[in-house]
Structures are given as C-alpha cells and as structure tokens.
C-alpha cells in the first residue's frame, strides 16, 4: 500500500511537470515569416547623421512566388533596400524598425558596406554596434566604397539576382588567380588591434550601375586613410604574404602589345633585421612564373626564357619597391612590418611603438625576389606564326621551319 502511495505521488508530480512544460507555450518561438532577413547592410554619412541601408527580401504573395525570379533594380525584384537615418548607427537602425513591420533579423547579414565619408570619420561607432549585437556574425564581409554604400547596394553584381549575395561572391576570392583577399569582420578587427594598426578593407565602386572591385582601402586605425588601386593592392597583399599569385605585365617591342606573366606558388618571408636600436627589413620572395600572354613572334628558346625570367623579376621588384615607397611616404604600415617586429622582439616594440609611424617612413627595406619562368602553358607560340606555306614543321620545334 505504501508503495502505491509513492507511485501515485510520483505519477502526479510527473503529470504536473508535463503540464508545466506546456506552460512555456512556445515562449520565444519566432516563425521565419515573422522575420525580415537582412542580407546586406550599408552605412553612410548623411550630413550630420548616419544613414543605414538594409537589403531585405520583399514579402511574397504566397507559395507560388517561391520559384519566381526577379532582377535587381527592376519591377520584378524580390529584394528591396530600405534606409533610415539617425544620429548614431543604433539610432538609425531603431528608425528602420519604425518602418519595417516584421522583426529585423541580422543573423544572416553577409556584407557590410561603408561609405567613404563615414569611413573617413571613423567606423568605431559602427563596429561597436556590430560587435555588441548578438545577431551579427563575425564572418560577415567588410568593404568600403568611394561613393555611398546605398549606391553599392543598389548596383548590379554580375548576373547575380541579389546584390548583397553577389557582393559576397565578389568579395570571396573563389578564383585562385585573383588577387583579392577576403576581409571579414573578425580579420579586420584582428588587424585593427595588431601592432601595425593599419587594417585594410576591400574597395568596391559602382560604374554604370555595376559594382566593380577597385582595389583595397587602407585605414589608419578606424579612419579611412588611402584607397589603393589594383596594381598597388596586389603588391600590398604580396608583401603581407596573403596571396599566392601575382600578375606581372611587361611591355613588348611592338607598340601597343604587352606580355603577361602569372607568378604562382609564391613563398614570401618577411624578416626584421635589428642593428642596435635600428631596424631594417628583408623581404624574400620565391616563385615560378608562367606566361599567360606573349609578345608576337616570341618563341620559347632557353635564352628567351632566361631573359624573360630576368625581366619578370625586375618588374616584380620594381612594383614592390613602388608600393613600399607609397606606404612609407604616407606613414601607413599596411604591409604589417610593425607586427613582424613585434613578433620577433616585443620588448623593443614596446619601447619604440609610439614613434613607429615615423620610424616606418625611414626604415630600409631590402627586397629579394627570385622568380623563374617554367611552364609555357599549353602552347609555345601562336598558331599563325607556326604556319608556313610549305607546311614545314613548326618553328618552335628544334630544327623546325627549315627546308
């Protein structure tokens, strides 16, 4: 009988607990249809205010629209940009909430675009907002534009339907032969807090309604300092050791022609060399180059190849030197030399960190490049130059084109 009592009481408690579960009644459940999913975010200066643009999906009419297609910026578009201004980023977002009936949901934001003016004034307040919110991912991509972020979010990106998702594709270097390096929020923050204190961000502009990769933006702390075009940006990433390919262009003897080489499998080493209180840098670069475009009538003879290797080497060194001079002149340690010193000698760094920007402008940098031209690609010369009316063997073959 006693056993029965215990069992009864236990059963009663279990029932109570089970009923208690239902009291939660789907407490913080949020349906997908109650969300406005933000795919892209743009932050601009708007006079004294900050303007925040969000790219969101238009609420469809029903299940039928599921497979529907739409072109950005046209009447059939599925996505729309909404903007609101406020004194701060957070206030602008608050104002956005006043015009958007569903909950703004930032967890799937893919890209943040900063307008030039806002970036020049410093993006610290925006970073505060992005970092404080629970929803934003640390992997969202950062980019800056010389115009307004609004224009970038309005632009077309290739054949992509959604600008923000297209930008994400554009900013992620899928193509190994492309120089762009992915800059996410977390990477930007790492660089912002690194000894060099010169973070970089991808630079995107709009030309004729089309978003276009322009190069890279250098920040001094949280403020936009300089915009580097493609060629310089490429060299910068090579100096930072973040890219494995580099494209070298050489002029040809024929006017209006050029040959192009792609340096691949690049190994880069950056060594700070200390002499007393002074520091200099040694950059060592090794790689193999492959012609992707040749001057007309140029055949791959051993001498030509050797000569081409020397030319590529010289051009590469010239470009790198140009970049270093560019950086030194602006006292912007975008190549992360400061971080290299800090890693090798933190004590020295702590003693000299205050005067580092001035020091950086004066440090000597030795650039040692050694690039060999190896593979010719799938063909050694153009088909037309191989042709002889007598149909002799091609000239590129040893003993070819001889009667």
């Amino acid at each position: 009988m006693r056993m029965n009592k215990v069992v009864t009481r236990r059963a009663f408690c279990l029932i109570l607990a089970a009923v208690g579960l239902f009291l939660a009644a789907c407490g913080d459940k949020t349906e997908i249809t109650d969300l406005t999913i933000v795919t892209g975010l743009g932050i601009d200066q708007d006079g004294k205010n900050v303007r925040v643009t969000v790219q969101v999906r238009k609420a469809g009419e029903g299940a039928q629209s599921a497979g529907g297609t739409g072109q950005q910026g046209e009447s059939g578009s599925q996505y729309i940009n909404l903007a609101a201004s406020g004194k701060t980023v957070e206030e602008a977002v608050q104002n956005l909430r006043k015009i958007i009936p569903r909950r703004l949901y930032f967890a799937h934001n893919t890209v943040v675009v900063f307008g030039r003016q806002f970036a020049k004034n410093g993006i610290d307040s925006a970073l505060d907002f992005l970092l404080r919110s629970r929803e934003f991912r640390r992997t969202q991509l950062f980019c800056v534009t010389s115009g307004t972020a609004r224009d970038v979010l309005d632009a077309n990106v290739g054949a992509e339907q959604v600008t923000a998702l297209g930008l994400q594709r554009l900013l992620l270097p899928e193509d190994i032969e492309f120089f762009v390096v992915k800059i996410t929020e977390i990477l930007f923050l790492n660089e912002l807090l690194s000894p060099s204190h010169v973070p970089v961000m991808t630079w995107i502009d709009v030309k004729r309604g089309q978003a276009i990769l322009q190069g890279v933006a250098l920040f001094r702390g949280d403020k936009l300092a300089e915009l580097l075009p493609t060629q310089l940006a490429q060299s910068l990433f090579l100096l930072r050791g973040e890219t494995e390919t580099y494209t070298v262009e050489l002029p040809c003897k024929q006017p209006g022609q050029k040959s192009m080489f792609r340096v691949r499998f690049i190994q880069r080493e950056l060594k700070p060399v200390r002499k007393g209180e002074d520091v200099s840098f040694y950059v060592r670069i090794r790689g193999t180059a492959e012609p992707i475009e040749m001057c007309g009538g140029n055949f791959l003879k051993p001498e030509t190849i050797r000569e081409m290797g020397k030319d590529v080497n010289d051009e590469l060194q010239r470009q790198l030197r140009k970049t270093v001079v560019f950086l030194q002149r602006r006292k912007l340690d975008g190549a992360m030399f400061g971080s290299a010193v800090y890693r090798s000698d933190p004590q020295w760094w702590r003693a000299h960190s205050k005067e580092w920007p001035q020091m950086f402008a004066r440090v000597s940098v030795r650039i040692d490049t050694q690039v060999e031209v190896t593979r010719p690609g799938m063909t050694t010369t153009t088909p037309e130059s191989n042709y002889t009316p007598e149909l002799f063997p091609p000239k590129s073959v040893p003993g070819g084109n001889q009667p």
């Binding site: 997908i32 249809t33 999913i37 795919t39 299940a63 629209s65 949901y105 967890a107 998702l165």
Partner: protein
C-alpha cells in the same frame, strides 16, 4: 498551485483508484470439462456417455464403434484435424480385421500400425489430446485409451519472410504450425544439444509454447528465469506470441521492445548459438528471442550474408537513419522556429521564400504532415492489397503536391517528412520502427516548445530510460553502456561487422557458458 490543493488532488485520485479496484473481480470459469478429472472406466457405455456429455454440440467430433470378432472398440477423433487416410490405414483397417479377443493394453498397442502412440487413463488428458487433434481408441473391458497422433492441422506451407525480407540468405519464414517451426530450427542446428521444451499455456486454448536453447552455450539462469516467467503467463487464450512477450518482458511500460520478435529461423539459429533462448508459440509465425539489446534490433540478418565491409557501411547507415527517423522533423522545427541563425544563409532565404503565405507555425505544419503520412501508412497497411495501391497514389499526390500548392505546408516540410519516412522504413525490426514512429511526435512537440534545448533534454531522457532498462539481466544498451574493457570484443558486432575469421568468441554480454567458438 498551493500544497493544500495538491494534497486534495492526490486524495481525490486515490479515492477514484480504490473505487476502481473494488469493481474489478477475478474471472472465474465454471466449465465442467475443465474441472472434473476421472479415470476412464472399462465400460464402453460409460465412455460414450462421457464423450457425448463433454463434447456436446461439437459437430466435428467423430465416433466410430467397431465390432470386430468379440471386441467392441470405439475410435474417436476430430474430423477437422485428422489425416483421414492415415486414420483409415493405421487404425480402422487393423482394428476391423482383428479376430482374437483384446484384453490388455499391450495387445491393443501392437495392433495399431502407427508411428507414435500414448496410453492415457484420465479423462482430462484424453479430452486435451482429442482437442489437440489426436485420435483416441477405447476398447471394451480396458480401463484406458490409446492416443494416436495422426494430426493434420489446416494451415499454410512455409513461405518467404514478409516482415523481414532480405535479398541474400535463406528465404524461409516461420508459419503458424509449431511442429514445422521447430523443424525449421532443427534443420539448421543438427545436434542433440538443441533442447526443445514444450509447455501448454492458456486455460482454454491450451497453446503449446516451445522453449528452445542450446545446452552448453546458454547461461543456465536465463533458462530458469524464462521458465519462471512463463509460469506467470495466466491467460485463457494465447493467440499470438506477443501475448507471451508482454508477460515475460522486463519493462512492461516502455515503448521499446525488450523481447526481440522475428519470423526468420536463421535469425533464431544464430541467436541460439550466441547464447540466447527462443520461444515459439503455436499459431504464431513470430517467435521470441531473449535476452535482447537495442543494437540487436539494428542488425539485419542480411548483414551476415554479404561482404563484411559493405555490411559495416550499411549498418552504420542504419544507425544514422534510425536516429534521424526519430529526430529529423524535430530538428527541422527547432531550427526554423528558434535557431534561424543556424540554417545556412542561402538555404534560409529559399525557405523564407517558400514559407511565405503559409498560415501555420512550423511545428503545426510538421505535425499536420506527419499525421497525414502516418494515416496513409496505416491505411495502406489495412486495405486489401489491390486497393492499397490506389491509396498510395492518392497519398503521394496529397503529400507531394496538393498540400504544397494549397498553401498548407511548405515544400521543405514534405521533403523532411518523406525523408523521415524513408529513414524509419530502414529499421530492420518492425517493433523498433513502431517505437520511433510514436516517439517522433513527442520530439516534434518538444522541439516546438523549447527548440534544440528541448530536443537535447528529451534525448537525454530517452538515453537515461534506455540505459536503465534490462532484458533478462542484460543491459539494454550493452555493449556500449556499460562499456566493459575486458569485453571489448563485443564491439565488433555493434556498429561494425567483423569478418567471420575473426569471430573467436561468442558475445560476452549474454554470458554464455562456452565462450570460445571452436
């Protein structure tokens, strides 16, 4: 709720319980034939009067009186269960030709040209034998009867397995006839060490239950325990093996099967060699296997009939499918109504687009689809085979297209539910599939209430429940929990299937007497 009202509630509940108990009276059967037990009298008249009284209104009882020479003989049998030709050749013909006077039991027995016969002197035994289909011969002046086994039960032949069909391996399944079923096992284990103990259970049906094990392999206490539990089977009728299974299982209140039910004699044979015991119940093509573990329900007999590497892959897949049949819809609900940030961005955009305009929350949507799916499954099972096909066509249309285009559910839900269905069909043992079918709904509700947190909570509760169960002393999650290092060899047949070359020991979780495989 304050404590006072809780106590009041408990008191009310107790009152109701005690009232309900008082209403329940034990059933008493007052059937004279089952109660009186008398000796057979040498007087044939008395015998005939007993027969006509006990077997009153039994149309199929045949009584044949033979007057041969100076003898008066009576042959009794049930017309519906006897091989008439054998009866004619073995009993009627020799008895009609007899000319000397039969005075003793031995004389009568030598006359009958049959394989097996027994001598019975008590009416209770004789009536039981008669009802089991055996023929009985009485002779004037002899206090007793010869019982001859000429049973020919109506029934089907051995057929292909239906529930546990397999591509490779033997294609025989048990049938309703217990003799044939035992034969199917004997055919596989040709040894006197294979013991078959038959008991009668069921006060009216007198159903035979065969307890089968291999002596020298099985742990003796399992047999003793099984016999003791069979004592407790107190029913008037046993029509299927599950009647017995519910009495002998360790945890009667769980949804998980603690007795393995199979229709394949090869499964029984291999299990007997592992040190397990089998029960075959007359009239049921499903036999029982004890002890059992959760993992034995995920081992298909086919695993052992194909390449061990392939079998290992398929077995791993099956484990994944079993858990996904439990958790997939719940995970979908949790992700879509609580953790949208965990869905890959592009997928979420697609889901959001397809979800627009659907009036129900995700959990209701999934429940609707699951209920539709389960109803179709049930309808397809119960309907005659010819109509069942049309139901499945209608079902495919309803599930696949109409529900989506009507804006009732989103296409992804249809996919999740059908994936879950496929996953649940891959569980080789039907009873475990049933358990996951039912539990799935509570997981969906849990996910709808608490999201992933709810799922984790329920999985933990499920694991605790599973780990707390035992089947004839063997932990239900053995050999994973408890994990015994000295018995690490058992792991080779859980997620993997080791090649037979490496099978040097029997599974140690069944504690077999003879551990080494010679």
């Amino acid at each position: 709720m304050d404590s006072l009202s809780v106590q009041g509630g408990i008191a009310l509940w107790r009152k109701w319980r005690s009232k309900r108990k008082a209403g329940l009276q034990p059933k008493v059967w007052n059937i004279p034939a089952d109660q009186q037990d008398r000796e057979v009298s040498p007087d044939l008249e008395e015998t005939l009067s007993h027969l006509s009284k006990t077997w009153e209104r039994c149309h199929d009882l045949q009584i044949r009186c033979v007057n041969a020479g100076d003898n008066r003989l009576v042959i009794v049998w049930l017309g519906s269960m006897v091989d008439k030709q054998l009866l004619q050749e073995g009993i009627v013909e020799p008895l009609t030709r007899v000319d000397e006077r039969i005075v003793s039991q031995a004389q009568l027995e030598t006359l009958l040209q049959v394989g097996s016969l027994q001598w019975k002197t008590r009416w209770l035994d004789i009536d039981a034998c008669l009802s089991a289909g055996q023929s009985v011969v009485f002779a004037e002046g002899i206090a007793g009867a010869v019982v001859v086994d000429l049973v020919k039960m109506p029934g089907r032949q051995v057929e292909r397995p239906v529930v546990e069909s397999a591509v490779m391996g033997p294609q025989e399944a048990f049938i309703e006839d217990i003799e044939q079923n035992i034969g199917l096992i004997r055919k596989r284990i040709k040894s006197p060490r294979l013991k078959v103990e038959v008991e009668n259970r069921g006060t009216v049906t007198h159903t035979r239950i065969a307890l089968i094990y291999v002596e020298g392999i099985i742990k003796p206490s399992i047999v003793a325990e099984l016999k003791q539990r069979l004592e407790n089977v107190k029913l008037d009728g046993i029509l299927e093996s599950n009647y017995v299974a519910e009495f002998i299982c360790d945890a009667p209140r769980t949804i998980f099967p603690t007795v393995q039910i199979t229709e394949r004699p090869d499964v029984i044979a291999s299990s007997l060699l592992q040190g397990r015991a089998a029960l075959i119940v007359e009239g049921s093509p499903m036999s029982l296997l004890v002890p059992t573990t959760l993992f034995s329900f995920l081992q298909s007999s086919e695993d052992y009939y194909e390449n061990y590497l392939v079998a290992t892959f398929i077995r791993l897949l099956r484990h994944i499918l079993f858990w996904s049949s439990l958790l997939l819809p719940a995970l979908y609900v949790a992700l879509l109504s609580f953790h949208q940030e965990m869905v890959p961005s592009r997928l979420l955009f697609a889901i959001a687009a397809s979800h627009e305009g659907i009036p129900f929350p995700t959990v209701v949507e999934v429940l609707i689809m699951e209920i539709i799916f389960e109803s179709l499954r049930e309808a397809g099972l119960r309907l005659p085979r010819s109509i069942g096909q049309s139901v499945s066509i209608v079902g495919a249309l309803v599930i696949g297209d109409a529900a989506v285009s009507a804006g009732l559910v989103s296409p992804l839900v249809v996919m999740v539910v059908s994936l879950t269905g496929i996953a649940s069909f891959s569980v080789p043992y039907y009873h475990l599939g049933l358990a996951s079918r039912v539990l799935r709904f509570s997981f969906i509700v849990g996910a709808g209430l608490f999201g992933l947190y709810g799922i984790i909570l329920m999985v933990l509760m499920l694991l605790i429940h599973l780990a707390s169960m035992r089947s004839f002393g063997v932990p239900y999650l053995a050999p994973i929990t408890p994990f015994v290092w000295s018995q690490v060899e058992d792991q080779k047949d859980v997620f993997f299937r080791a090649p037979f070359r490496q099978d040097k020991t029997r599974p140690q979780l069944y504690e077999s007497v003879d551990k080494k495989i010679p």
